[in-house]
Amino acid sequence: MADTGIGASVRRKEDQRFITGRGHYTDDLNRPGQAYAFFVRSPHAHARIKSVNTAAAARSPGVIGVFTGQDVAADKLGSIPCGWGVTQKDGKPMNAPPHMPLAADKARYVGDQVALVVAETYNQARDAAEKVVVDYEVLPASVDLAATAKKGAPVIHDQAPNNVCFVWGLGDEAATKAAFAKAHHVAKLNLVNNRVIPNAIEPRAAIGDFDTGDDSYTLYVTSQNPHLARLVISAFVQIAPESKLRVVAPDVGGGFGSKIFIYAEECVVTWASRKVGRPVKWTAERFESFLSDAHGRDHLTHVELALDKDGKFLGLRVDTTANMGAYLSNFASAIPTYLYGTLLQGVYTTAAIYCEVTSVFTNTVPVDAVRGAGRPEATYLIERIVDVAASDMGIDRAEIRRRNFIAAIAFPYQTQVALQYDSGNYGASLEKALTMIDYAGFEKRRKEAAGRGKLRGIGLASYIEACGIAPSQVVGSLGAGVGLYEAGQVRFDATGNVTVFTGSHTHGQSHETTFAQIVSDYLGVPFEKIEVVHGDSGRIPFGMGTYGSRSLAVGGSAIVRAMDKVIAKGRRIAAHLLEASEADIEFKAGKFSVKGTDRAKTIGEIAFAAYVPHNYPLSELEPGLDETAFYDPANFTFPAGTHVCEVEIDRDTGVVAVERWVAVDDFGRIINPMVVAGQVQGGVAHGVGQALCEAAVYDKSGQLLTGSYMDYCMPRAGDLPSIEVDTTVTLCTHNPLGVKGCGETGAIAAPATLINAIVDALAPLGVKHIEMPATSQRVWQAIHSAS
């Protein structure tokens, strides 16, 4: 089993269809009688909709229907909800204005959905959309994050005076104040966590398909969590009860958070398919992705770190303004609070922490989770302020981290900000990373580069993240509207093949391979005989989906629990067949045997007996071998590690070349090292993109200036070095696999690592900080204003 079991770099089952062009992404699917949809979107950031005249569009060739916000209101569709209610510092609930699937009263950002045209062909729908006449009263827009909560700023929602969604605090304010009062040194920094656009390469798409025969709907959609989509579209938007709605998320071309959310478009095409009595397909053009996929990050932060004379961290104070955009997306409120403030302990013993977050509305695309979600923001500020403190106090950057690490023997470790870390060894990853990059020899390389006229710098970041979200009762007490368990089902057929149904969704994560490895390893069934099914609410018992690096820790654990049930039942069947007592049956490597004898039955034989129960204890046991488990985790998991990189900066152009990248991470037990390395490398590239070139830029009127790949800079192959990946291992103590999760850590660690390296390269010129993205222009300016 070793070559396909846990720990082996098994080549992927899913590859065959993708490398031959036989995948089934949403836009590849076509339903009989399908019509096509195009959305009319607001060209204004903030405008009252006085009227929408659809007459000319309705007469346009091929048009089947034109729908507006008034139609949505007439059919009493509900608001798209924010699923996490944050309680404010003063005890009041957050301000959560409604978000209707088509805007009826006001458009609140450029791209806001105002009307839908359905036609025989896509081109006809697109042409007709230009004939929809919307009479807008253009209003002043509130676009600037720093100014939107100030007096006099245009108010976006009546329900949110001053455009404030909430003011939230976490930690011990008084203790933190006291810590600062006795500090030897206080390091301070203002920083911007730049707004990014997720940019999965597959644009979002949806096909609503109403079955007039039985009054039921099927929605095919680019989703990371089809069951959650079903829940929201049923219980909140109220298009159909869950029993009448099937949501299928087939092959999905990357998510990175952006396909967690239930968007207006998929609600509207589902609803519209009934209105027109035909399947309705919508596929985003890339400009629509820029204008409507939830954006990420977008924080303004002031951070202060109090230190004693030896460089020990006494206190951390963080004040953040977080952008929500124009409406609250499904998890928007959780990102800058429970996925951010709770991570401010980092990997350090900082004695007192206080964090305050003001979350505000602006006339921009809604902001929600993007790969890492809150945790990159937390890591960025911690690892930047630690570097600033080290530089202020003249302490080596690796050394100041060593002095403050939570010790390997200190677990479980209760943080100052609500979490309890179960395991870790932060020093081990740091030392390994430093050795791999030859930290000790760096000054020689800096000198050598200087001889070539280049500024060379080294940077490191020791991050932690919380993933495997999450214990349902914990998140429930913190405001989550859902439970966050996962479901798994393991079904044998009579011939011994296994089908695994998982509520997790794979859109690049490789579950079809890694989950099969786990099952093969546990049940002793050949890897080739195991099929993993995901992404269909009609086939899978339930699911909360894939985000926050939770699939293996939560979804994988659910499968293990289902396998435990299979083995338990198999043991009873074996006891009957082998005429032994159940207590004497042991299960190993796919065989049930009677202890101390060579009498045994393979699990395949047991499955056959279960489905052809001629010799079977029918009075005590049901036939069949098909078990389902729901797994609700006891805690988050806490991957951590250290990334180190080296850069060279060209003085004349300000161009930053990333020369080397070393990542040493602790993910707990590793199922497939090849897949894990790929996840890390992809995450690092995402984080390098944020740090080096990506930024969503709005002009004062709220027009998105970076609305295509011409203006929004995506990292390309030439912007990146090879990414050297290694691991250290401490097992997660509370899930059956001992796993932690690896999908986001690269994006979490990379921005701080890279900016620390760039600042180090520029430090000889007196530069103390540079904002992201560190474009060549920005770096060039820093060089020239310094010298």
């Binding site: 597959e202 644009p203 690049g508 295509s708 790949y709």
Partner: protein
Amino acid sequence: MPTVSLEVNGKPVKAEVEARTLLVQLLRYDLGLTGTHVGCDTSQCGACVIHVDGRAVKSCTMLALQAGGTKVVTIEGLARDGKLHPMQAAFKEHHGLQCGFCTPGMIMAAVDMANRIPNLDEKTVRHELEGNLCRCTGYHNIVQAVLAGAKAMRA
């Protein structure tokens, strides 16, 4: 509507298309060859790369009518007699794909790259991939796959 005739994956094809129809639309929607993907509207992502008369072309950048009389090969036509093209095999072996959406374009661009440039090295591959975006892999394994696939193509 005007008619266009061309050869696609070795088979003659004739279709009526609107003049504004892009080659990628003809492939995906008229011929059902959905392996060629669309990831952008500004000719930058490379998800749509195919071969036209043996050269890599972004099929979103060409009108279907312009392809009249050409020989087109798409990702579906790369494997021969059920045997993967060496570049396809290399992408699998080196884990050069995750979600798979950029993959057809990557593979078609890589085959063209290997055909044009005899001795590929990492730097050249990274530079040549300028027109292909991947959000999943960080390019590391794509570069490894292209190098290995190119080597296997010469063998």
